[in-house]
Each structure stands twice: as C-alpha cells, then as structure tokens.
C-alpha cells in the first residue's frame, strides 16, 4: 500500500510506529442476514487481501477480478 515514487524511511531517521490492527465490530443485537453474511465474508477475506496488498506494495487500487485472482 505504499504509493509509487515514495520510499520507506528508516527508523534511524524517525522512530518506529506502533502496529495497527484491523478489527471488525458488530452491533450486538443485529440479526440481519445480509449484514451477518457481509461480516463473515469480511472476516474470511480481509486478512488475505490486506496481507497481499502489504506484500505487493504496489497496487493502489485493485479491480475485483484482480483481487479474486490473487486469492
């Protein structure tokens, strides 16, 4: 997810940052089946997609088919 034309700056230049975490939060009383399905798909696919994006470092926007290929 690093844009083209920019570099990662070394920690000798600036201090290390804390890790961030992607989290999914639900409204406890939500029973809508579509929302539940959407959340389930997010839970299953988001870690893979995020990992892929971080490893590749190049794509800024991926089309749906491209992401599907990567999975």
């Amino acid at each position: 997810m690093i844009p083209n034309g920019v570099n990662v700056l070394p920690y000798s230049l600036l201090p290390a940052l804390a890790d961030a975490e992607y989290l999914l939060d639900w409204r406890p009383d939500c029973t809508d089946s579509v929302v539940v399905a959407f959340g389930s798909i997010l839970r299953l696919t988001a870690p893979l997609i995020i990992q892929q994006l971080v490893e590749d470092q190049t794509p800024v926007v991926l089309a749906a088919g491209k992401v599907a290929e990567r999975l």
Binding site: A20, F38, T45, A46, V67
Partner: protein
C-alpha cells in the same frame, strides 16, 4: 469501513456477497474509524471495519499491519528538525499513533496537509517535493 480498505478490497467482497445474496441491499460508508465506532455505539450502523492501535481492542481481530514512515527522497532527512506531515484529520487512529510517537520522542512536527481522502493523501505524499519546501522541514 475505513477508506483504504474500501478503495482496494471492497469490489471483490461485494461481488462475492452479491453471488451469495443476489437481492441484498447494503449501504456502505467509508470514514474515520473512531467516527464509525461512535456510530456503531449509537446504533446507526450495524458493522464497522476499522483500524486501531494493536493489542488493546474489543472486536474481532482480522490482522495486524506494520506501520512505516514513507516519503519522497529528500523531503525529510537527517538534520531536519521539524517533521513535515501529511495526515488524516482528527480523530484518525493513524494520526493519533503518529503524533503520539513523535511527542514521546521529543520530535517537532508541522502538519502540512490533511485530508479524509486517501487519494488526496497519497497524491500529496507522492508530489511533496513539488509543493513542500524541504528547507522548512
């Protein structure tokens, strides 16, 4: 949903959801995580995907992301005493992480560009050398 996820993975996820629930109706919004979590507490949204500081959260953890500093070569170098920043606006989690880190290390900073749009932030960073005078950094 946080915007950086919305601009990358969302089309694929929606396509898959559509195949499983052809008649679904879903409203998806992107925004800053803390704002979205407030709306979840208020009951105006059902589900929030957000990014927070790792290790002290409720919710279902999906994955961790290592944060790094990025910039065009030469925009900030050793010897510069003020860190020029391109940031999401308050109350962004990433903004909080960055400013707290600089504060804890006694570093000075100057917020030179802020936007809630990740496309604008990317463009500002990618072209910083054209609009950010490195001598002031």
């Amino acid at each position: 949903m946080i915007e950086d996820f919305g601009t990358t993975a969302l089309p694929y996820i929606l396509a898959r959801l559509r195949s499983e629930h052809p008649l679904f109706e879903l409203t998806i919004e992107t925004g800053l995580g803390p704002d979205l979590l407030q709306r979840l507490e208020a009951g105006s949204v059902d589900l929030v995907l957000s990014k927070r500081v790792a290790g002290r959260n409720q919710g279902t953890a999906l994955c961790r992301q290592k944060l790094v500093w990025v910039g065009q070569p030469g925009v900030f170098e050793a010897g510069h005493d003020i860190v020029p920043l391109v940031l999401y606006p308050f109350p962004s989690t990433l903004r909080e992480i960055i400013l707290r880190t600089l504060r804890e290390h006694g570093l000075r900073w100057s917020i030179r560009f802020e936007s809630a749009s990740i496309a604008s932030l990317r463009a500002a960073v990618q072209r910083a050398s054209e609009w950010l005078h490195s001598g002031s950094a």
